[in-house]
Amino acid sequence: MKSKGIALTPSSTMVQLIMIGVIVLLFVLFYTHYIDVHTIAQEAGVENDAINLAQVIIGNQRLISSDLSDLNDPFAHRFRAVLDKSKLDSILTKGSVDQSNFLSTPSALPELGYPNSYGYTVIVDLETNEVWSTTISGPLTSSPFDFATLKNCLLNNVKIDFSYIFRIPSLSPWEIWDLQKCSIEFASRTGTSIKGFPVAIKDSTGNVHIGRLTVGLMEW
């Protein structure tokens, strides 16, 4: 009886090990894929939103150039990413938004903006160096969130300098450590993203200049 027991033990142990191995393999396969999908989905959120917001701005009928003024005219051509200089002059702020009043400046494009977000757009004519800008903000829906407190936190902790984005396009005007400080204070998860896109700017004489549109977005 003893020798039989010894003979059976290695194979039964092996079978058990194989079963454990298969279970571990299945677990690893499911777990790694699950983690990958969720991580990517969460990390790409603010980036995607900044890109989409920029796309909405360069397609906005209030800013883009068209060959006819009647919006209902089926023959009107509206030119995506070709911004009308006269519209920029009349709708947006000429020059950069006053840094000291950045968070208090109302948006010139109130029809755009993600909820629980704050951002800006800056348009530069790279041939004449003219600059137009506006803040962008959406409705606030996080009920426990005190936006005024966030403003105070950011104003006390963040140095906003629009010129940074022209010297170093990848540098955020919101310094990350300061933002994180405010994030910790609000116990929320925030994210920032800055995206730049080439645009054309058409003036009243029909000349088209090369320009750049930059969108900065902070979400919480």
Partner: protein, 150 residues
């Protein structure tokens, strides 16, 4: 003799196990990846992000646009779009499977789930096909969302 036979058996078992695991991984990793991707693509988190993005990109079209979106043939969804936030409940045979993050009530709000940058309002129950469109009316752009059960 018995001992030698056991050793051969053990070696064969180890070798065959190794080959089986390798083949299993090669075959199943693709299937698992596809299955997880399919489950993820139909989840309320992903569907709500897709719909919110579609709503936003309609604002980027300089002219009229219409987007058709059917995330699943198996599941249906309850959709609410209000105040630029999108919320989804995924249903199977009328029973809730999962739901997206609810803005304003659940904190933190996890970044960008269910946010749109433009202003349509809509509410549908038990639908699995969505039509998101932008058109002109009285010199204004109108955003519209329709939900249907396929």
């Amino acid at each position: 003799m018995r001992g030698q036979a056991k050793l051969t058996d053990s070696l064969f078992l180890v070798f065959s196990t190794f080959i089986s695991v390798v083949i299993f991984y090669m075959i199943m990793s693709g299937a698992v990846s596809d299955m997880v991707a399919l489950i993820s693509l139909q989840s309320s988190e992903v569907v709500v992000r897709d719909i919110a993005s579609f709503i936003t990109v309609t604002g980027g079209a300089p002219d009229e646009i219409k987007i058709f979106y059917t995330p699943s043939d198996t599941f249906t969804y309850d959709l609410t779009v209000t105040n630029r936030t999108v919320n989804i409940i995924r249903l199977k045979d009328g029973q809730e499977v999962d739901r997206s993050t609810i803005f304003g009530y659940q904190f933190p709000s996890y970044g960008s789930y269910g946010k749109s940058a433009v202003d349509p309002e809509a509410s549908f129950t038990n639908v699995n096909t969505f039509t998101i469109s932008k058109f002109t009316q009285d010199q204004h752009y109108i955003y519209s969302i329709q939900g249907l059960r396929d």
